[in-house]
Symmetry: none
Subunit: 226 residues, 2 copies
DNA sequence: CCCATCATTAAAAAATACTGAAAGTCAGAT
DNA sequence: ATCTGACTTTCAGTATTTTTTAATGATGGG
């Protein structure tokens, strides 16, 4: 999940960014309206956290443009406490939710999660493939009930594979999903990470879940390879 | 003091929130049962103002869950005038006080203050994780029966971690709860205090309770990492 | 047997966490 | 009011882990 924060106060931006990153979101920060607008145009974000009080292009202007461009990013607006009059306006202009400053991070997090959960209501908390379980809420992984520690990237990759069990995913697809959009041409990073996962997930189990499909990519499946 | 209002009527919620903020409480608002439950799970509130008539999860359900989870938040329930029959039920379910709508703000304030002033009743003073015990009444901490001296901040941090055993808490969350300032930019103060705790709590014990989850935060847990 | 493809390993680069000490704060005692 | 000592916070250097690159060895289909 890709998020953009458009906020000029460094403290606030850092604080939010750090918290959201800890929740394993990919977070970018823009420090003013112009930069924000450019980034929004360049990348397909899932959600934008937008401060309305900005130097350069005003937040309201960005909001309007975003909606008229018809992107599919959810928009969470930050307003000053007493700007209550603007609220109605903002909702009309296309904000999906708003929060008045100052706010507790937990409050922001709840709203962000609510907005991101919105489109696919089928998003299950627990993915299961054979005796492998991933909990998307707590990001915990277990195999045969035993806890497995994964790094951020490892988890990300495994989640992607587990979300499409039995399906063969190409390296290109994987890179686009797990790593940022554009990754330099030739790299074997996917292979390396698949190996990491094999060591942590498959090693010591007779049933191997990670399967290589030559010339195509990788696949996480219950079926035993021949 | 951290308060949460769970109330779907915007007018009422705003009204109460504003009034309580003027009294210098840190107030969060949840607009439906689901959001409320998530926030309660995420944050250790001192008091929850809970409307019983909610969309999503019903207020009664939240009440039940809260108590069964055994948080230490006081709960002030708002009910409709004529729902007198429910009152007894609610008290049994664990409400600490109730108020019938409509009510005067002053009335609410009196009850809130009374609840917050109350000496923590004989409910869950003791948090326990493995052989670590914290008594919230006396703020005493013991590991394997042996007394540990902690400073105010150290205790505060440990209590927060112990209140959510097994759960990974991000630095952002921790800063918000233990240091109530909202937006402190980048600081490693949490790291420093975790170290203090490690020296006092984990050092000399073979089973380490404080676990670092890289890129995310910290966790107090009985479970041994793999 | 050849060659493209994949696996494995090592090691550089980047990100993140730990550590110890200095500087700053605050409350109680003198 | 000033001092004192404990507590809190900041800072900077070190250590560790993760991520990425790259080089080498293995494998299998044609």
């Amino acid at each position: 999940m890709r998020l953009l924060i458009i906020e000029d106060e460094k403290k606030v931006a850092d604080f939010i960014a750090r918290g959201l990153r800890a929740e394993r979101f990919a977070v970018d920060v823009a420090r003013d309206g112009m930069a924000g607008w450019e980034m929004v145009s360049a990348v397909n974000y899932d959600l934008v956290v937008l401060d309305l009080m900005l130097p350069g292009i005003s937040g309201t202007e960005i909001l309007r443009r975003l909606r008229c461009r018809g992107g599919n990013a959810a928009i969470l607006v930050l307003t000053a406490r007493d700007a209550t009059n603007d609220k109605v306006e903002n909702f009309e202009a296309g904000a999906d939710d708003y929060l008045t400053k100052p706010f507790a991070f937990a409050e922001l997090l709840v709203r962000v999660k609510a907005l991101l959960r919105r489109p696919p209501p089928t998003r299950n908390h627990v993915l299961r493939v054979a005796d492998l379980e991933l909990d998307r809420l707590t990001q915990q992984v277990r195999r045969a009930g035993k806890r497995i520690e994964l790094t951020a990237k490892e988890y990300s990759l495994l989640e992607y594979l587990a979300a499409h069990p039995g399906r063969v995913l190409s390296r290109t697809m994987i890179i686009e999903h797990v790593w940022d959009e554009s990754f330099e041409g030739l790299t074997n990073i996917v292979d390396v990470y698949v190996r990491h996962l094999r060591v942590k997930v498959d090693e010591g189990h007779s049933k191997k879940l990670l399967r290589t499909v030559r010339g195509v990519g990788y696949c996480l499946s219950e079926e035993e390879a021949t």
